[in-house]
Structures are given as C-alpha cells and as structure tokens.
C-alpha cells in the first residue's frame, strides 16, 4: 500500500510503500517521517486563480495559499486576518492596519500596495464569470497611507465592508499583475501569504501543498497536504475507509452511522450557515403551476395572503424532516440565518399543526385547498429531492395538492430565471442576516443590487428600511440589533418559508481533531493531531 493507515503500526507496509514509491518513480513529496494530511474535497475546483470564480471549492483551495484582510472564526464571526485591526473613521471611510512582518511565499513583504491591487483586480479579469466584483461593489476608492495602512472609501455608508472583504484574497502584485489563469494553474503566480505553498496541481484530480515555514500564524501540524478532488459521495467515503485519505468533507448522510461505528474513524459536525427555504410567488395574479383543484385558474394569487403562507408553514413537520428525511443532518429553522451568525436571534420555530393550518386555509377562502407545483434542485443540497417530496406530501395533507418538479440545479435555475416557477426551494448561506435579507427579501432592484435571489419578489418597505439602516451602520452592535429586527419582521410576515439549517460534517481518522466550521470550509491547517 502506498498509504498505510498509520505508519507506527505497520512498519512493514512502510517499507513496501517506499519500495512502491521507488518502483513507480513517485519521487517527490514528503519524506518517510514527514507528517502528511490527505483530504478528500467534495467539489470540483475550476481554477486556482483566487479571484476568478467565487465558488466554495475554488475558495477552499485558494484559502490554503492566500489570505484576506479580515478572517472569520469557525462560528463565522469576524477576526483579524492580514489586517491586524480596522475601524470606520467616518460613515464612508474605513482604515485597515496590516499585520507587520507578513511575507509572501517568495520572501517579499506584504504591503498596502498589494492589498489595493487585490481589491481592484476582480473587476479587471477578462472573461471571468467571477462574482468577486460584488464584494468590492461598495468601494469608491482606496488610498495607500503608508506601507502598512490602507484607507477604503465607500460609495455610501456601508457596515458590511469587513464581511465583504473577507472574500477578497490578497495576491502579490508583482506576480499577479501580468498573470493569466494558466499562470495560476501552473503555480507560477500562486504566490500568497497563507500557511501553505504550492507544490503540484493535477487539474480535476489533486493539489499538493507544502507548509510555509515563514507564516505569521501558529505553524500547522502538517508538512505536506494533499487535497484530492472526489465529488462522487461513495468514492470519497471508500477512500477514507481504505485509509487512502485522512479526512473527508461533506460526509454522505447514509454513511455517517457506519463511520461512527468504526473505531478508527470519527465524525465531527456543526450547524451550517446554509438555510433551506421555500420561495413563494408574491407578485403575479396568476402564478404558473397554481390552480384550483380542477386545474382552473384561481381568482387571486393565494401566496399573497399571509394566512395561506402561515397555513403552509404550519403544515410542514420540520422535526420529522430533520430527523428522518435529513437523517439528523438538519436543524429546524425559524430565522434567515443559522444560530451564531451575525444578526441571528432565536425566533420560535413554527410548530407542526395541520388542524390549525386547515382552519387558516378555510379562513382565507380555500376550505378545500388548491393545487401548486413545487420546484427545486435534485443535486445541490443534502437529500434535496426527498425534502421536496416530503414537503409536498405534508402540504397535500392539508388540502394543498402539491406536485414536485425536481431537476438538476442547472435546469432548475434556468426555469426560475425564465419565471416559469412560482414555488421553489433554495439554500442560502451568509455571514450576516442583513446580507441575506439584501439578496433574498429586499425588492429586486438592479441599481441597488437588491433582491437578486428574491424569486417571489416579496416586497415589504418596512423590512427593507430596517435592512438598509443595518447595512448602513458602521457601528457593529447597532447594526446587529437592526439586522435582528429586520429578520424577525421578515419572518413574522413569512417573506419565505424557512425549512431547516443544514448540518455539515467531516469524517476523519480517530487521531485527528477539527473544529467544525459553520461556513463549511475545510482547512488543512486547522486539523490537529489528538
């Protein structure tokens, strides 16, 4: 075996491994005694350029090599990153003080110039489907005060700038300014300040990294890290079971029980920031897929009636979904963001009450119910299609005959954008409640960048005003209170129906430990031997 389960227990296999390695010309990498961590990632990495595409798999890989001004702890709360501290000088000016003595992998010092360059770069990458530009949208200008101080002027008062800048990874100006995507994939431009340095990359297969001995933080336990890309769930589990991997992320729900029984392995989990919710069409008089029980159009859009939305929410047995359909990988939801996230408050979860739901439906003028079509993805969230089916059955029980249309995310999203869908499932994760509200609940407005994912076009000026005040506050405690109030108001009005917060899990060898992260990221440097 090339990779014995634990070197200590298998002295013979260790020799075999060396022999194999020699035979197979597998020459590079860690020495026999070096500590290596091999991680199975669940998502396809498309590019190593940390500012090309803001997708979680790409960022997971990038965050081993690069860092951002602000960092977040495992509970998604902001902590210092490359900026030691930051403060708002006035409503539209932020000052970031860089950590001193930070060096890029090539030995050159990190300066405010590199940071200013990195903040400007997302808008200049050609042909990038990007997404990073959204994080610097509020930035009007940057000023380099001195080598370690940067001032950022925003176009309007904007309290979420530190959150947004967490997603902008700082690249070395010298290496990145003339680099194309191929320079990042080959490792030439992959020069960051992070805990790991580039060693080798095989697209679609693996990325190998070595420890950055110059790193300013606490030295990670692993000399070498291999990130294997294994999107197929059973294969990822098998690679862990066989001892080829030390850690896997996103453990398939069906395998968790077995892994927990295996005394060489264990699972660690926490509530993810991803909230699963149902959007309801609240703008068309005749939403598609909604009709009376005979298939004839209704006289009004039932989703616009709060009593109907409330009845639908009461019809859903969140506890049963979390325990059975999700096999424990969910927490019933009542709020926009999950527990612990900025702006969260413990709202009361809607109890399962089919009788009450029926009464509300009758009150709203639908004593016998009506027909709807519920659409959603079948390859995006944990057990997404089963969740759709269960919700449909629960709604049908109170008289709302629900048909399910599950499709791959690509096809589903296409239909949503063509406005062919009026009742849909979506998953959402964010660092702050006001940021979630901006995308999910604020009235769609392209100029302000509001409501890009408010599929039902829910419209409530009061909620929007509170949200705007929250986002405009550079005072964090004031902002959090406002964000809490805005979320509570949106949930009271059922802007959308919250279902559950997903639980994210990692499985690893028994002698490893990881503090599970709400933001679902897997970082080699946060794994420790135990």
């Amino acid at each position: 075996m090339r990779y014995p389960r634990t070197m200590k227990h298998y002295p013979l296999t260790k020799h075999l491994r060396l022999l194999c390695a020699a035979l197979s010309l597998f020459a590079a990498g860690a020495g026999a005694g070096a500590a290596e961590l091999r991680i199975g990632l669940s998502g396809e990495v498309t590019s190593l350029d940390p500012q090309y595409l803001a997708a979680q798999p790409n960022l997971t890989v990038a965050r081993h090599v690069f860092e951002s001004l602000t960092d977040v702890d495992p509970q998604t709360r902001l902590i210092p990153g490359l900026a030691e501290r930051w403060r708002a000088i006035d409503a539209t000016t932020w000052e970031f003080n860089l950590r001193r003595g930070v060096k890029f992998h090539d030995g050159s010092p990190l300066t405010a110039d590199d940071v200013a360059f990195s903040l400007a770069r997302p808008l200049s990458i050609k042909g990038s489907p990007g997404g990073f530009a959204a994080y610097v949208r509020a930035v009007a200008s940057t000023t380099v005060v001195d080598a370690n101080t940067l001032r950022v002027k925003t176009k309007y008062p904007y309290g979420a700038l530190p959150e947004d800048l967490n997603s902008i990874l700082i690249v070395s100006k010298k290496h990145a300014q003339n680099a194309g995507p191929e320079d990042f994939d080959s490792g030439r431009a992959l020069v960051g300040t992070g805990p790991y340095k580039f060693l080798r990359y095989q697209r679609g297969d693996r990325l190998e990294l070595t420890r950055n001995e110059q790193w300013w933080g606490k030295a990670p336990a692993w000399d070498k890290v291999t990130l294997r890309i294994l999107p197929a769930d059973p294969s990822r589990t098998a690679a862990l079971l066989s001892g080829e991997l030390d850690v896997i992320e996103h453990v398939p729900s069906a395998d968790i029980k077995n892994i927990n029984k295996n005394n060489k392995l264990h699972v660690t989990q926490t509530t993810s920031w991803r909230t699963i919710l149902l959007h309801l069409d609240q703008y068309r008089a005749q939403p598609p897929g909604v009709s009376d029980l005979n298939g004839k159009p209704l006289s009004a859009n039932p989703f616009m009636d709060l009593r109907v939305r409330r009845a639908m929410s009461k019809a859903i047995n969140r506890q049963a979904i979390a325990e059975r359909v999700m096999e424990g990988l969910a927490l019933p939801a009542a709020n926009v963001v999950s527990p612990g996230v900025f702006g969260y408050s413990a709202l009361k979860t809607e109890a399962h009450d089919p009788e009450g739901a029926k009464r509300l439906l009758a009150e709203a003028g639908y004593p016998n119910g009506f027909r709807v079509t519920l659409a959603g993805p079948n390859n995006r969230y944990i057990n997404d299609e089963q969740v759709l089916q269960t919700v449909a059955q629960l709604l049908t029980r109170i008289g709302i005959q629900t048909r399910v249309e599950a499709a791959p995310m690509s096809a589903f999203l296409g239909r949503v954008r063509k406005e062919e869908i009026s009742f849909a499932l979506l998953g959402w994760g964010s660092f702050a409640a006001d940021l979630s509200l901006r995308s999910l609940v604020a009235t769609p407005n392209a100029d302000k960048g509001y409501g890009a994912w408010n599929w039902g076009r829910y419209n409530n000026p009061k909620v929007e005003k509170l949200m705007e005040q929250a986002l405009g506050s550079v005072d964090r405690s004031k902002r959090e209170t406002l964000a809490r109030d805005a979320s509570a108001m949106a949930m009271q009005d059922l802007a959308f129906i919250p279902l559950h917060h997903q639980v994210v899990s990692w499985a690893m060898r028994a002698n490893l430990a990881y503090v599970p992260r709400t933001d679902e990221f897997t970082f080699a440097h946060h794994f420790t031997p135990r």
Partner: protein, 324 residues
C-alpha cells in the same frame, strides 16, 4: 478509394456541423451558466456584467457564428469555468481516458474471446454453462454498482488496491501515461475491470454464437475430414470466419468506451474526459461540452473508418471502398 474517402469526409463534416448546432442550441435553452457559476452574493449588475463579458447576452445565432468562425481556425472556445481553452482541457484529460478504455478493451478481448471460443466449442460442458451464466451477470449488473463493489472488496476490505484516482505517470513522447508504472497499473486495474465487464460479456456471447455457427459449416467438416487437428481447425478455419462481426462490434464498443466511460470515471475519480464532461454539463460550460462532443464524434468517425479498413485486411473479398 479516393472518392470514397472524400465522400466520407464530407459526411463527417456535415455530421459535426449538425451536432455542434444541436448541442449549442440545447445548452443555450437550459439557461445561463453565469447564474450557476457565480457566487450567491452577486447582484443583478454583476450577473449582467459577467454574462456580457462572456458574450452570452448576444443572440444565439451571433454566438454560434462566433464559435463557428473560431472553430474553422481550430479555436473551440475558452471554458467559462476554468478560463482555459476547451481543447486544452480535453487533450489534457485524453491520455487518462484512452489508457483506461484501451486497458478495458484489452481485458475484454483477452478474456472474452477465449472464453467465448471455449463455450462455443463445448456448448454442453459445465464450463460453458458457467461461462454463460457469468456473462449474464456482466450484462445485468450496473457499472456504478460493480465499481463500488470492487472498491469495497479489493480496496476497503482487503486493502490490496487503491480506491480512486490515477497513479503516478511517466512521460512517453510528452504524453503522461500511467500504464508504465507499478503504481499506475494498480490504480488502473479496478476501473479497467469495471469498464471491461459489459464488453467482456458481449464478446463472450458473440464469439460463442459465431463459433457454434461455424462449427456446423461444411468447411469445418471438410477440414476435419482432411485430417487436421481440432486445434488447427479452430485456428485457421473457425477464427478467421468469426472475426469480422467481432472486429466490428469491438471497434464500435471501443468508441463508446472512450466517449462514455463517464460512470466509471466518476466512481473511481479517474481524471479523464468523461468526468470533465459531467462537470461541464453541471455548470453549463458550453465551450467544453461542444468541444468534447465534437472530439468524440470525430473519434467515432475515425474508428469506423479503421474498422472498414480492417475488414479488407481480414477478408480479402471485401474492398475498403465497398464497405459502407
């Protein structure tokens, strides 16, 4: 021969054109890749900006025309997701897939034909019955399941072979190949076997049927009457006669192995073209999807041509120009 080749070439070009049009329109109809690729925090302006940057806001015919002009010059477009020319992505992965497909074909032919011959020569023996029963399994079991079963037994339980991935490679004329390293072969064994299973069963059945048929022919009787040994009868009279259908099927199946090893590649995380196609379809990465299908259709055309030429070698009565 020359007119024949030219005619075939024209047909191939037409096929490629029609196919590219269909795929192009199909992917366009599904939706906007930017929405899938972009991060959720992106607002409408950012989605519109990225869409325009990729030229996806233009009318379909204009997008196709741009693609067509580029394709004539050998440029099949740049992957939206990876920002690398689509053809580079495909060529980068091609050795892995070819290696896997050829290894699977080798297993299928190397085991399938001898087993089929055995079963055909002694159709009522217990050996023949066992072979035929097992070949039914080869047809009936889904690739996905077989792959996982092999992983569970040989990698997880016994720990003999690695579960997933491709082994160490060495460059042969600049092409990274893993079949020349011990580590590479160990990684190749399970996926190649999984992929071979169906083809193996097919070849067993085909060879057996052909053999049984041939054994009843007059020429076999005469050969025996001439006093030839059974071995010589099979070698010089039965084999050449049953090979033509086998070569046809094996050729076509090789094409499908290369183009559609997708399931196996996914289960074994084999970094080949099939896995690339699936990933690209998931994010509607149109340049890669179109380039991939163009490449595989070309491959099919090429293999068909080679099969036709092989006929002429195997059967002197056939002239390449006549086979259609």
């Amino acid at each position: 021969m020359l007119t024949y080749m030219l005619r075939r070439l024209a047909w191939s070009a037409a096929t490629l054109l029609v196919m590219s049009l269909l795929v192009f329109a199909g992917v366009y109809a599904i939706g906007n890749p930017v929405e899938l690729l972009i991060n959720p925090q992106a607002d409408q302006a950012e989605i519109a900006r990225a869409t325009a940057l990729l030229g996806l806001d233009r009318p379909l015919w204009e997008q196709y025309w741009m693609f067509f002009r580029g394709a004539l010059g050998g440029d099949l477009g740049v992957s939206f997701a990876a920002s690398v020319p689509a053809i580079t992505l495909i060529l980068e992965r091609m050795p892995a897939t070819l290696e896997l497909a050829l290894a699977a074909m080798l297993i299928a032919v190397g085991i399938g034909i001898p087993l089929g011959l055995l079963a055909g020569l002694r159709p009522h023996s217990w050996l023949a019955r066992t072979i035929m029963t097992l070949s039914t399994l080869g047809f009936a079991l889904p690739t996905f399941w077989v792959g996982l079963l092999l992983i569970m037994v040989f990698s997880v339980q016994l720990g003999w072979l690695p579960t997933t991935g491709r082994g160490a490679t060495v460059d042969v004329f600049g092409i990274p190949l893993s079949i020349f390293t011990a580590d590479g072969l160990r990684h190749l064994l399970l996926p190649a076997t999984t992929l071979a299973l169906f083809k193996l069963a097919l070849l067993v059945r085909l060879t057996r049927a052909g053999t049984q048929d041939a054994m009843l022919q007059d020429y076999v009787r005469y050969a025996r009457a001439k006093g030839l040994s059974e071995c010589a009868v099979v070698r010089s009279h039965v084999m050449p006669n049953i090979l033509i259908p086998i070569v046809t099927v094996a050729g076509l199946e090789l094409g499908s192995l290369i183009a559609f090893a997708i399931v196996t590649e996914t289960v074994f995380a084999w970094p080949g073209m099939g896995k690339l196609l699936i990933d690209s379809i998931n994010v509607l990465d149109r340049p890669v999807i179109v380039a991939y299908l163009l490449a595989t259709v070309s491959l099919f055309i090429l293999i068909n041509l080679l099969v036709d030429l092989l006929y002429a070698v195997l059967d002197p009565r056939v002239q390449a120009g006549d086979a259609r």
